[in-house]
């Protein structure tokens, strides 16, 4: 219980923030009224722009990148900004909302392919085929919504993990979504939906899963070390988390309409290498479970796969058009 005066003060503050949020929508070009930290944010934005589209903003780098756009040619920060000097250590995490980046092109990555079957429920229900089918259905829906789509494979061929990331980077994609089917413990009839972003885990099951998915990656330890160095300073991590949450919510919502008992296995981090080299928000979606007979039956039904594809597209679109931050001036 708190006093009437406190309540009144809270209401006034919230009202001011609601008004500010609406003013930003009505007049998006009006100058920001944020106080105090504006100069620092401008300096941070300038540094991010100078670092290039990859968003790696670590001040110390162990080795220069060899595969990305050169950072040397990028413009220096604007001289007129009277900002606090750049720190010598790593820069703080930047919210992806600050950049308000759009989504124009998405890479869909059907897992496995060719000699790499993935998991298998029967001779005709094979992960590599289902993943490709789902990617194609999802592509249809995204293209209808005006989003360009590139597939890492549009046929039953093997594509190395490294090459999948290369495809995404060459295509200058804005998002990367890898589509997989799960294999859990058949003895306990486990099934559900889970969505991953790149990160560490201490779950031995997830480690084993990542190890299985990472096998034959073509990466060396040095490669992985170099790539992982920048990951946690990268605003991509936060965007990946949002993308994973958006896709996961849509999948769960859609699939539970037909199957209310479907388990929410959550949004998790795991060290999937296919998500490492892509320099954009990247997630891996396990959209069904081939180890569970009921799930496998459903996956054999094109209407169910349509439902999954619709949900994947809806999740991507939901992420793509996320609202501006609703917080007002501090």
């Amino acid at each position: 219980m708190f006093e009437a005066r406190t309540k009144s003060r809270l209401k006034r503050r919230m009202l001011a923030q609601a008004v500010a949020s609406n003013l930003r929508e009505v007049n998006p070009h009006a100058p920001s009224r944020r106080r105090g930290t504006l100069g620092v944010w401008l300096a941070v934005v300038a540094v991010v722009v100078a670092a290039g589209t990859w968003g790696f903003v670590a001040a110390k780098r162990s080795a220069p990148r060899t595969t990305t756009a050169a950072t040397a040619d990028l413009p220096a920060p604007v001289a007129s900004i009277s900002a606090a000097p750049l720190r010598s250590g790593p820069l703080p995490r930047i919210s992806s909302n600050t950049m308000a980046l759009g989504v124009r092109r998405v890479v869909l990555d059907p897992g496995h392919g060719g000699g790499d079957l993935g998991t298998q429920a029967s001779a005709t229900l094979i992960e590599k085929d289902l993943a490709l089918d789902l990617a194609r259905r999802t592509r249809e829906r995204l293209v209808a919504a005006g989003i360009e789509v590139v597939l890492t494979r549009d046929a039953d061929v093997a594509v190395a993990l490294r090459d999948r990331a290369e495809i995404a980077n060459r295509a200058e994609a804005d998002l990367f979504v890898s589509i997989h089917l799960n294999w859990l413990d058949p003895s306990v009839a486990e099934r559900g939906v889970e969505t991953y972003l790149l990160g560490a885990t201490d779950d031995p099951h997830l480690e084993a899963l990542a190890e299985s998915e990472n096998s034959g990656s073509g990466y060396s330890f040095a490669d992985v070390r170099r790539l992982l160095d920048g990951i946690y300073l990268d605003m991509r991590q936060e965007s990946s988390r949002r993308l994973a949450a958006a896709i996961h919510a849509e999948l769960l919502g859609a699939l539970r309409q037909d199957d209310p008992q479907l388990r929410d296995r959550g949004v998790k981090s795991a060290p999937f290498l296919v998500l490492v080299e892509t320099g954009v928000p990247a997630v891996l979606a396990e959209v069904g479970c081939l180890s569970h007979s009921r799930d496998a039956e459903r996956l054999a039904d094109p209407a169910h796969r349509d439902r999954i594809a619709t949900a994947l597209a809806a999740g991507i679109r939901r992420y793509a058009r996320r609202p501006e931050p609703s917080g007002g001036p501090s």
């Binding site: 503050r13 008004v19 003013l23 007049n27 909302n97 609202p323 609703s326």
Partner: protein, 345 residues
Amino acid sequence: MSEKNAPKPVYVGIDLGTSQSAIVCSNGERHTAKSYVGWPADMVARKLVKKRVLVGQEAIDHRTMLDLHRPLEQGMIKEGSEKDLAAVRELLRHLLEACGLDKSNGSAPPVRAVVGVPAEALKVNRQQLRNALKGMVDGLMIVTEPFAVAYGSDTLLHAMIVDIGAGTTDFCVMMGRYPTEDDQRTLTMAGDAIDALLEKAIRERYPDASISSFMVREWKEQHSFVGKPRDRVQVTAPVAGKPTQLDITAEMRAACEALVAPVAETVQDLLARVEPEFQDRVRRNILLSGCGSLMKGLKEALESELENLGGAEVSRVKDPIFIGAEGGLAIAQDAADSDWEKIVG
């Protein structure tokens, strides 16, 4: 006209719902309408209904002769459909007219409106809403629906609002500030999803029964429950043309209970993001609103699901149908004239 003689503005709060919309005005008027709009399908229908357009229950009752639209999907205007945009305008016009605020007769006072939208409504959807209301109101503020509920029920600090509608279930953690993205969630598991599950289950059990989605929705609105049934749920529907009583107790229970797990999981997820020293307070202050909150046994079921968190206390707002619109009205009235002038521009 001098400032002294300028008409005083009227303030309104509008809850634009997928299935039902509500309006509350500072002039004392309050109305609801089902979110359906229909235009006569042909000249014969036009002659029969004697109106250019029908809105709400009237549209549903005459649906066989109308081009019927339910223009909101998951709480927002359906994209890419001119007709649905027109339908939203007719719905809003109907609500404003019911309060005596029709702009077409030229004598209505200025109207300042606050409209609630789902917590995760996209920027493009909010812009569509602004376009739909152009010319109908003189000032418009858009807020999230659960925030409007929180404001209207004075639940501003260490609380969680769970607003269960037809298209969406919206969640908002109130921490004494305007909620950010991280404080809010929208689930598409809501009233419409329950209707779909219920209809499917009834058709599976009674394949020869003739039922429609409107009938199913009505049965749900009258009989929804979770947990042990207090009474059997008996409804009447034609089977091979003959009115027949059907027992749909198990089907109703299963469909309604499908809501519980996703809501509990989302509550848990949001709670986990609250600062640790405040989590207990929020957990003991969960407020249900929206038509879905009227489901019998829902409060107890959620408390049971959240038992493993150390217990939760769930309550329901007094007037779940109007609370969102009332909150919008409170916001509209509390905002200063200078704020409204800035928004109008």
